[in-house]
Subunit: 402 residues, 2 copies
């Protein structure tokens, strides 16, 4: 029997009414002859409510206890959805991270899934039950509760689809699929029927917040067909698939915008070996993901070093940099949280030249200053002032996609 993993996000389970609607959708898939494993997030707003409670007690809450706290959000949803399924006559059973041993490392708040024990899930499916699994959470090897970070339920779903060898993983949310750019910024944006894993990774990492990036990496690694679609329509969404020939005809698949990064610059660092390691070692140890790093050579033996980190982590990163400051002999630090990273993404770039040049030309015509540039095989990203972000997205979408 075909096995489907379905994931419903916070807005899809935001109320009892919506949970009942999700139950109806799940039961319909089961009636259509599929085995169904459902992964759910916390009810919209619940995680923030819990974090607010923690912050009434502590500005920087202990991460182990914070995970214990916020993991309750998904626990509530799995119980309610299982109840809703049973209420309409569909046998169901909930499982938490520790019950199906979604084992992770112990990076609280941003843990990575290492393994899943599918025994109980497979047994329950055999008896005709729908299995409802708490997303976002796991346990480390010592049974401490861990969470996977924002959007972690996507990763839970794709990881489950991989470990269970599911036929497809459907990611339901309030968006209809992956768009060429954010439709709220650019009215010409259109939905893509399919997109390659690599393009999706670049789009996700550059701010097209349809899917959490690690979930896409998981999907690529295990070749899980992922279908991103809306809870509230029956329309087909966007399929994430392996790259095929037809895709390289399209130069640029999407224009992404990420306003969630902050930029930290170390001024006039002596230009000698080992400094970068001294700086980025401790930042990595604190599980802060550094995105772009730029270092300019200079005449006088010193250099400015600039890097970006998630805005949410920038104060933690700053504290680490300040501690390292005497050792790296920097003359000062500058922080800028008012930036945006704009990226054009497309597997077609591999075989076509001139995309970067065209991108810079478009931005120049719009009089937008480029602060940083970074490229990969299928992506070109620039950092600009946040205030110009929407204008840049519209101009680039117009130039490359329309």
């Amino acid at each position: 029997m075909a096995l489907l993993v379905q994931k419903y996000g916070g807005t899809s389970v935001a109320s009892i009414e919506r949970i009942k609607q999700v139950a109806a959708k799940v039961a319909a898939a089961k009636r259509a002859g599929k085995d169904v494993v459902v992964v759910v997030s916390a009810m919209a707003g619940e995680t923030n409510r819990l974090i607010a409670l923690a912050q009434e007690i502590s500005k920087l809450p202990d991460e182990r206890e914070k995970d214990v706290l916020i993991a309750t959000g998904e626990q509530v949803t799995v119980a309610l959805l299982s109840l809703a399924l049973k209420e309409i006559g569909q046998p169901a059973r909930s499982y938490l991270g520790h019950q199906v041993r979604i084992e992770t490392d112990n990076a609280y708040g941003k843990a990575c899934i290492l393994s899943i024990d599918s025994t109980k899930i497979v047994e329950a499916l055999k008896t005709g039950e729908v299995v409802v699994i708490a997303g976002f959470q796991g346990v480390d090897e010592n049974d401490n509760i861990t969470t996977l970070g924002r959007g972690g339920s996507d990763t839970s779903a794709v990881a489950l689809a991989a470990f269970l060898n599911a036929d497809a993983c459907e990611i339901y949310s309030d968006v209809e699929g992956v768009f060429t750019t954010d439709p709220r910024i650019c009215p010409d944006a259109r939905k893509l029927a399919k997109v390659s894993y690599d393009e999706m990774i670049e789009l996700a990492s550059t701010g097209a917040k349809v899917l959490e990036i690690r979930s896409v990496e998981f999907a690529k690694k295990f070749a899980v067909p992922v279908h991103v679609r809306s809870t509230f329509t029956e329309l087909e969404g966007t399929w994430l698939v392996e790259e095929d020939d037809s895709m390289s005809d399209v130069l640029v698949s999407g224009v992404a915008c990420d306003k969630n990064e902050a930029k930290i610059t170390l001024l006039r660092v002596p230009d000698r070996p080992g400094l970068a390691a001294q700086l980025f070692g401790p930042i990595a140890d604190a599980h802060i993901v550094v995105d772009m790093i730029i270092q300019n050579a200079s005449e006088d033996g010193t250099t400015d070093m600039t890097f970006t980190v998630p805005k949410a982590d920038h104060q933690k990163a700053l504290a680490i940099v300040e501690r390292a400051l005497p050792a790296v002999h920097a003359k000062g630090i500058k922080v800028d949280t008012e930036i945006a990273k704009i990226s054009v993404v497309g597997v077609g770039m591999r075989t076509h030249a001139g995309v970067a040049a065209k991108m810079f030309e478009v931005l120049a015509r719009e009089q937008i200053n480029i602060q940083m540039i970074s490229t990969s095989e299928i992506k070109i990203s620039v950092v600009i002032a946040a205030q110009h972000a929407d204008q840049a997205v519209r101009a680039l979408h117009d130039a490359f996609i329309r």
Copy 2:
């Protein structure tokens, strides 16, 4: 080092402010040289909020999923209290039922604790941490989440004190101790300095809702000294201890009132062997605790059979009785939820006669009709109409204790 188990009920952790107060109390005990294990309930109102969510979906929610749902209440509290302890410099660590393997049977909603693995707790205490454990919850042998029923956190605390061989178990709540009767009903009620486990069991089972009855049975079985006291004062409360000689001088220690039972009567049941088993077997299988059972012999070969069950279970019990009706050939069923059970309790009764006679005399003088009578070595209970309950309590307290 002396080991103290402290349990804080829902009203003691009803808000972030109160959780901070509890943290201060716990840290003070630690500073005073004690090792401290804290057991907490859900924040007041939280369990009811969660049950209301379940009931929006299902009138009779599946019990496994209901336990998954309501177990989140305590999980939130342990995380918040651990955060509050750390915030004031007291190292702390939370554990959930599954993490310290509070193993129970699988009677969802009213599970019994079978064993606790103290390894992690002892390790954490050795490092100077306060250990904060979620009350009310456990796991069965298959790692399904179970809960112990209302007041179950008391049982969690006493069971932990027993398994950890603690020097005392302090039960903190908004009551100052065990009283001779409910002070809201009878202004003459006074606090008892100590009470025997057996008396407390009778008082608890008859409605003095200071402590959950199974917690007292646990305490008696393992001779755990339990100190029932208020979170909001420094006053000594009431000690639960083994019976000593001084206690038998007191004829009646307390007058208890229980309005949480309902009475079910089967009319004109044929008076032949095996009928009681046919009836009460299925009720026990449904984990419904039958309290009093009365059967009157009669002239015509039939009998009326009356029994009481918790009000919350009476519809479930009724459904079972109705299914059994054809088999037991009863002529009808009567249900009365407007009853109260009034009990006088005292170890002194063992060696003194006449308590029952005096009790009936007092109630006769008050013109209160007795519907059912049940006695034990140290207790006499009567069922009367709920409307006369307070009057009966005052009259009996006046006659026996004042």
